[in-house]
């Protein structure tokens, strides 16, 4: 029996917009186990972003329970949640969110800067390891503006890995990339997943979602479908079928 990383029970989230209360999440029950690769899907307004914000401890639920690796997030303070994010979570964003004019290595080191237990030397070693994992060890002194979109996203993935999180949360991580680069990024995620990393991936692209192991479809604040992806597809295999343009040659 695999360890449960994320457990959500009857989770609700309301927003007060002027006079109107918007029910973004209306009673979500969810369990994600170690080693799963979950895609959260849904149209805009379906509540998937709200779900991700709560899973990412950036937001608090209105009611219900959320256990992240055994920690109950619901009644934590701002600072406690920040600590939890630093220790347990890795984030990958649609627009990479790398610090400009800062080398890839320093960008990857950033989460460890907020952990006082990690010394400078260890921090650098961990960051280099993470960059090696995403295949960018040779670019570690490049600044974001010297890297392509795919490379920037791989730096971002390395940054999400560097603190050895229990789960990586990706928010439309392929949204800004072309098809081929998207598959390259997905192949990186699949590789991480095959090494045992738990990944939660928000996307609205079915093509991307079928590269994961489980799809949760959101609509109007409910999970309307929970599909186990039966036939596993490898991003690497799809990549081989795509035509290669000169632009992509290294």
């Amino acid at each position: 029996m695999a360890k449960t990383i994320i457990e959500v029970k009857d989770l609700r989230k309301d927003f007060q917009v002027g006079e109107v209360t918007v029910h973004a999440l209306r009673g979500i029950n969810l369990k994600i186990e170690e080693g799963e690769f979950v895609a959260i899907m849904g149209a805009s307004g379906s509540g998937k972003s709200t779900m991700l914000n709560i899973l990412g401890c950036l937001d608090k639920p209105t009611s219900g329970e959320y256990l992240l690796d055994g920690h109950s997030v619901g009644n934590m303070s701002r600072d406690e949640r920040a600590w939890l994010r630093n220790q347990k979570l890795g984030f990958v964003f649609q627009s990479y969110n790398l610090l400009a004019r800062t080398s890839a290595l320093e960008n990857v080191e950033l989460p460890l800067m907020y952990n006082p237990k990690i010394k400078a030397k260890e921090r650098k070693e961990l960051a280099i390891n993470a960059l090696e994992t995403v295949g960018l060890a040779d670019r570690m002194h490049h600044k974001p503006n010297q890297l392509s979109g795919g490379q920037q996203q791989r730096v971002a993935i390395a940054r999400s890995l560097v603190n050895d999180p229990v789960v990586i949360l990706a928010d439309e991580a392929t949204g800004n990339l072309d098809t081929r680069t998207s598959y390259e990024i997905m192949s990186v995620f699949q590789e991480l997943n095959s090494k045992g990393k738990t990944i939660v991936f928000v996307t609205h692209e079915p093509d991307i979602a079928r590269l994961t192991s489980k799809n949760l479809i959101f609509r109007d604040g409910h999970i309307i479908k929970d599909i186990l992806v039966s036939h596993k597809t490898f991003a690497r295999e799809i990549l081989e079928t795509l035509p290669v343009y000169d632009d992509y040659k290294k």
């Binding site: 600072d79 920040a82 630093n86 969110n97 800062t102 950033l110 800067m113 907020y114 952990n115 603190n163």
Partner: protein, 406 residues
């Protein structure tokens, strides 16, 4: 987050915007430099005034007649003849805090020697006169008590008078000069004193025995001013009180009546000038302080711009585990670094500028260490004060909104 990481993050952030950092710093640099330079100039002028006044004799006491009521009519003070030679003798005898005393009588007129003439002032005093006024004779001799008793027509001349009448080459000792047609034999030349604080030439004078001036020049029997010298600077207020008491008794002034004379000490004068130059220093410092304040507001402005511009960075830092406190400290550290480095450069520049002013314009400047320490402390305070609000704004951002900020 530990302190070294904090510094590293702040320095990296500042380095990413070098030009902006330098320009913001410039506001503080100019502010601090001008505060230090202005205070140095103010302090310098205070010191030089004090030195000049005390070179005139800081333990000197001056007694001069004040206006009197005579039959219900208020008289002008110059016409008063209330001070006499007997008063001076009484002061020397009965006031223990007074070292010595001298009358002073004076008249202005024209001095003539062969074909040349120039306007000057003739002063009359006794054998203590030079000592009280801190004057000395460079060549020739002082007049003797015997010459005073006999109203001898001898005089000591200041260097300006000598130059006007004799030029620079000739030896004036033993020559006869005429003051308002009365001949005086020059027996000594006074040491040079230069200009006083008010730009008055202190060498444009001749000094003769008071008896001579009283009888032969002014035809009076009273004295215009009494000069006395206290034992030392500290005893000068006591000496003033003693002289006042004595003269009230001698002039038969009853309890509630006003004095017909006034006693001033040079020390009071020093204090008056000191307070004037203190006001000057405060004024200059305040004006410079305003520029420091403007520099501080510049920091605040730039920090606000920086917070807005880096909203997404703040969101990211929060997402990866930065607490509100970490973000607050980061921005606060940035503004403190700007102000402290600006302050250090400003101190160097201010000290340099005040020395330059001292050299080039020949103004006395004194850089007080307290001023430097205070300027540095104010700088740090400015960094904290003006960095606080932008930093708090950053720390209070909602990470979700910050991450989405366009």
């Amino acid at each position: 987050m530990n302190f070294i990481n904090l510094l590293k993050i702040a320095i990296n952030a500042l380095k990413r915007n070098k030009m902006r950092t330098l320009l913001t710093m410039l506001g503080i640099v100019i502010g601090v430099a001008s505060v230090i330079a202005m205070l140095a100039i103010g302090q310098g002028s205070k010191k030089s005034i004090q030195e000049q006044v005390s070179s005139m004799g800081s333990n000197m006491i001056i007694v001069f007649p004040s206006s009197q009521m005579r039959g219900g009519v208020q008289m002008g003070s110059a016409s008063s003849k209330s001070l006499t030679i007997d008063d001076i003798e009484a002061i020397s005898k009965n006031c223990p805090s007074v070292k010595m005393a001298s009358p002073e009588v004076r008249g202005s007129g024209q001095v003539i020697y062969s074909g040349k003439n120039s306007p000057t002032t003739l002063y009359g005093g006794n054998e203590n006169y030079l000592g009280i006024k801190k004057l000395s004779v460079t060549s020739g001799r002082e007049f003797t008590i015997k010459e005073i008793q006999s109203s001898a027509k001898v005089c000591l001349a200041g260097t300006t008078v000598i130059e006007n009448l004799f030029g620079s080459s000739a030896d004036p000792i033993g020559q006869y000069i005429r003051f308002n047609s009365i001949p005086f034999k020059v027996i000594g030349v006074l040491s040079e004193k230069g200009q006083n604080t008010f730009g008055q030439d202190q060498d444009d004078l001749i000094i003769a025995p008071y008896t001579t001036v009283q009888k032969r020049v002014l035809a009076i029997t009273h004295v215009q001013t009494i000069l006395a010298s206290a034992l030392n600077e500290a005893s000068s207020p006591k000496a003033v009180a003693e002289v006042e008491e004595l003269l009230r008794a001698r002039h038969k002034i009853r309890g509630d009546q006003e004095n017909d004379f006034e006693v001033r000490s040079q020390e009071e004068l020093v204090q008056t000038f000191s307070s004037i130059s203190n006001i000057l220093t405060i004024l200059l410092g305040a004006i410079a302080g305003i520029s420091l304040l403007v520099g501080g507001i510049g920091i605040m402005n730039i920090m606000y711009v920086s917070v807005t511009e880096r909203t997404r960075e703040i969101g990211l830092r929060m997402a990866i585990g930065g607490r509100g406190k970490d973000i607050l400290l980061q921005f606060l550290t940035e503004s403190i670094l700007i102000s402290v480095f600006g302050g250090l450069i400003g101190i160097l520049l201010g000290v340099g500028a005040s020395q330059l002013v001292g050299k080039i314009m020949n103004w006395p400047t004194v850089v007080l260490p307290q001023a430097v320490v205070a300027a540095f402390a104010v700088c740090t305070a400015i960094g904290i004060f003006f960095g606080w609000y932008p930093a708090r704004k950053a720390a209070n951002l909602d990470p979700i909104d910050a991450l989405r900020y366009e």
